[in-house]
């Protein structure tokens, strides 16, 4: 490729990065603006910054519990999904049994199931059980999609560990379960941590289940944000402040899992 074309190409890439990041940067700036600057009809890129929106919305308006709810829900659903999903994925990676691939596909459909359809019966069932607006309801709902992500991703990671390692460990007198816990889990640790981060992100970002299955006590941050938007007179500085807090951990996490993103997002169909 000639040098001129190279430069054009690099220019395009830089423009794409700008397009990808500008909305976020604008929101970050808005969270630091006084009301008058945020509502200026000519966009203001330079302004006297203020940090007031963050304490106002999280402390005075009581959004801090929502933040901790988000953390509790995301952590619990990640933990539950790993606990149940990692052993199951190992069976899929190592065993042969009739109908295995069909069962595996069944796990996929659960991840693909449209939340809006699943949440209707779930809402009624959890309502009858008195679980609506408890952590249990949201954590279980989020585990329904995170569990299949775990099974799908971890199967790939386990398949990459040579079978000879299992055989050697069992020759040394380990049971199958012992081999799994003592030898394979440590080997799969990088995969497990990447999977955990992806689970956390998916649960943290989720809106629909959380919105319908919680009312007040266990509301997560994503559920609380829309409540700040009014038809008239939205306090955009505060909205932006909550949105920044809701997205910042995700941005940091994304850099941790960048190596495994393709696999995680295509259900292991593409190794990346």
């Amino acid at each position: 490729m000639s040098k001129a074309w190279r430069n054009v190409g690099m220019g395009v890439i830089i423009i794409v990065i700008i397009i990808a990041l500008t909305p976020y940067i604008w929101m970050l700036l808005t969270s630091l603006k006084l009301r008058i600057d945020a509502l200026a009809s000519v966009p203001k890129w330079m302004f006297p910054p203020t940090g007031e929106h963050y304490p106002t919305v999280f402390i005075d308006k009581g959004y801090l519990p929502l933040l901790s709810n988000s953390i509790i829900v995301a952590l619990s659903s990640t933990l539950l999904s790993l606990l149940v999903g990692v052993p199951a994925s190992y069976v899929f990676a190592r065993n042969r049994f009739a109908g295995k691939e069909d069962l595996f596909f069944f796990f996929l459909t659960t991840r693909m199931a449209p939340a809006i359809s699943v949440v209707v019966p779930m809402f009624l069932i959890f309502g009858k059980l008195g679980l609506v607006d408890t952590y249990y309801a949201v954590v279980l709902a989020h585990s329904s999609f995170n569990l299949s992500l775990v099974v799908w991703m971890m199967r790939g990671f386990f398949e990459e560990i040579p079978q000879e390692i299992d055989e050697a460990a069992q020759m040394d007198g380990n049971t199958k379960a012992g081999t799994f816990f003592r030898i394979l889990l440590p080997l799969a640790a990088p995969g497990i941590s990447a999977t955990a981060v992806l689970c956390f992100i998916l649960s943290w970002n989720e809106l629909l289940y959380a919105m319908i299955l919680t009312a007040f006590e266990s509301r997560t941050l994503t559920v609380g944000i829309p409540g700040l938007v009014q038809p008239h007179g939205t306090l955009w500085g505060q909205v932006a402040a909550v949105a920044v807090v809701a997205t910042l951990p995700i941005i940091i996490f994304t850099f941790f899992v960048q190596k495994h993103l393709v696999r995680g997002l295509t259900f292991g169909a593409i190794k990346g």
Binding site: A20, P43, L83, E101, I116
Partner: protein
Amino acid sequence: MSSNNWKRILLDKGTSPLFLTPALIIFLVLLVGPFVYMVSLSFTDLSFSQPGRDGNFLGFANYRKLMRDDPIFWESFLTTIKFVFAAVGLEFLFGLGLALLLFHLIRGQRFIVTLILMPMMMAPVAIGLMWKLLLNGEFGMLTYYLRKIALMAPQTAPLSSYKLVLWTMVVIDVWEWTPFVTLVILAGLMSLPREPFEAAIMDGASPLRVFWDVTLPLLRPIIALVMLLRGIDAFKEFDKVFILTGGGPGTATELLSIYTWRINFRNWDFGYGSVVAFMVYLVVLIMCSVFYKGITWKRGIEELRA
């Protein structure tokens, strides 16, 4: 036999069932159960807003209503189809172009790729709010510049114009998900074997021919998979549109998921709402089984190659 031996048998032979059962139970309880319940509800008149409608059996009345007397459902279906095709089509074009560019210029240097990826990692709710702020009719930053360079008439606002609003949703979806298509195609490009390219170049093929006759055919399975994945997700789109327009103005952006939400959680009509939810489920299931076939198909190709 000593108890030690029994333990050993349990830990050897018993491992697989023991490992698999909890996952199966959770799936049955969280997905199969609700699915069956949803289907059974679809034959009833259960509603929380009208007295006397406490789950009486109706037969297929709800289904007849869907087929014959609910133009809004079908309108919403059409809106969803438009949204899916426009968004996924554009995401494919931009994603493929960007992936090729990244592949040839920076070979997928991770830091730059991750920067481009950011939109798809953030909470869709936050994305909805960001764009609501950017596209506000009075002080939106993007609205201001779009009017300034005369791409948009003064007074029009992308979120309240009946004609523009669905395409605005498409643009935002393209902004959010092109990175995903890029990422997957880029991964595909990096995994391609080199020999066919070298052979084609030896034969003196032009870059365009190489792309058309070598790159594209080799990428086809991956492109099909990523399009289908995006298609399924776009069909289920809820969060962004819910935050940005709530389905309005009028029903201009009332996607199926929003319509389902409205019937169930605004009208509290769970009988009819279950039929609608079931229909959405059905479409996704069909797309899923195509995806499944795609994966087995791709595995077959890989085995052929190995």
